[in-house]
Symmetry: C2
Subunit: 221 residues, 2 copies
């Protein structure tokens, strides 16, 4: 029952946004009564919290699905692509995950858990010697910077202040600036980017195959 409620709630949020998720609406959708939600969650806010958690779980699964190869920089680019595709293919769910607050320590924990996938990918780049000028900086600090850039671009796109084409363009150019500043070689970086592009089709976003090109349409207002 709990699982059915959470999945139905996530589906409603995904299709109609936060405002569409209503107590009686959800109860009717799964064919039960309003009390069922309260015996399992205690409040509507706790239900929303579980929807957020499911969103982070999906995002984490999509990031965990990118394979680790001998080119960690290409792997990192694919992590970024998986993050961007996960966020933009389900805008309402991403909005719920980050902008629906209030957030408590539990939410922060699940958020930082999925961030660890990016830290791991960045760490492999540092160990491979691709970022010599980064010095002794913690890989988590480097990962945080590309996370902030990605999250910022995604947020601006979801606010309709940025077209998808611009978002992916600046995601690539902005990340390139960071990597060059951290000392990666421009030619090696270009090769890694090409390898990442060639591997785009192996991405799986929410158990569906990712589009072979990073540019696509489909945006709910």
């Amino acid at each position: 029952m709990r699982e059915a409620l959470i999945e139905a709630a996530a589906r409603i949020v995904a299709t109609e946004g936060r405002a569409g998720l209503t107590l009686r609406r959800l109860a009717g959708e799964v064919g039960t009564s309003t009390m069922a939600i309260y015996t399992h969650f205690g409040s509507m806010e706790e239900l929303r919290r579980n929807v957020r958690r499911q969103g982070f779980a999906r995002l984490g699964a999509n990031l965990a699905a990118v394979e680790e190869t001998r080119d960690p920089m290409a792997d990192l680019a694919l992590l970024g692509a998986a993050y961007y595709l996960s966020a933009t293919s389900d805008p309402n769910l991403y909005r719920a995950m980050f902008f629906d607050g209030p957030v408590d320590e539990e939410d922060v924990g699940t958020g930082l858990d999925t961030f660890m996938y990016l830290v791991e990918g960045m760490s492999r780049c540092v160990e491979a010697g691709r970022l010599p000028k980064a010095g002794t900086a913690d890989p988590a600090e480097l990962a945080l910077e590309v996370w902030a850039l990605t999250h910022g671009l995604v947020s601006l796109q979801l606010a309709h202040l940025l077209a998808p084409a611009q978002a992916v363009e600046h995601l690539q150019s902005g990340a390139r600036c960071l990597f060059l500043a951290w000392g990666d070689d421009p030619r090696r970086l270009k090769r890694s980017r090409q390898r990442a592009m060639a591997r785009l089709a192996e991405l799986s976003i929410d158990d569906r195959q990712a589009p072979s090109a990073l540019l696509f349409s489909s945006q709910t207002p």
Copy 2:
């Protein structure tokens, strides 16, 4: 009456968040009836739209208050500081501006209007020859990248996924990466940063003087 309603609504949103702004609550706050809101705005969503617009107006005023000196790079750093301070000193209003949707073309216009202050500052840096490696890139594209970084860090801080100290640290280091990649000289960049730090006290955020240091506390959950 319209102005009083908008100001009271913005104050309620600032102090208690979006959920605190209620029809009857606002009517009681300004000593009128619920119908007053409907004759002036027509719907609660239109009222919220005007609150967002006021938020962007305040942000724009704070950015416009930054003086233009002979060091455009320092001016740009101050623009970034003004943006960060405006956002974090009124988290609920910033959340309302970007994350409260739905957004229509009018909202997009007001958002891009305030963005133009950053584009202007970036344009002055390009004209001064501080970013030679940026080539023929449109200053708006460069400004967009630092905007995305700033907005991303602010958003992560407002989601409690980032402490304020981390946010300002990565705001500086991330922007430094971008400027270095665009060809600014590390020593000139350092001097501009020092000049910007020395001018922090001249910032005015919402008609109050900014703190002399970029690091401060005060965060509503």
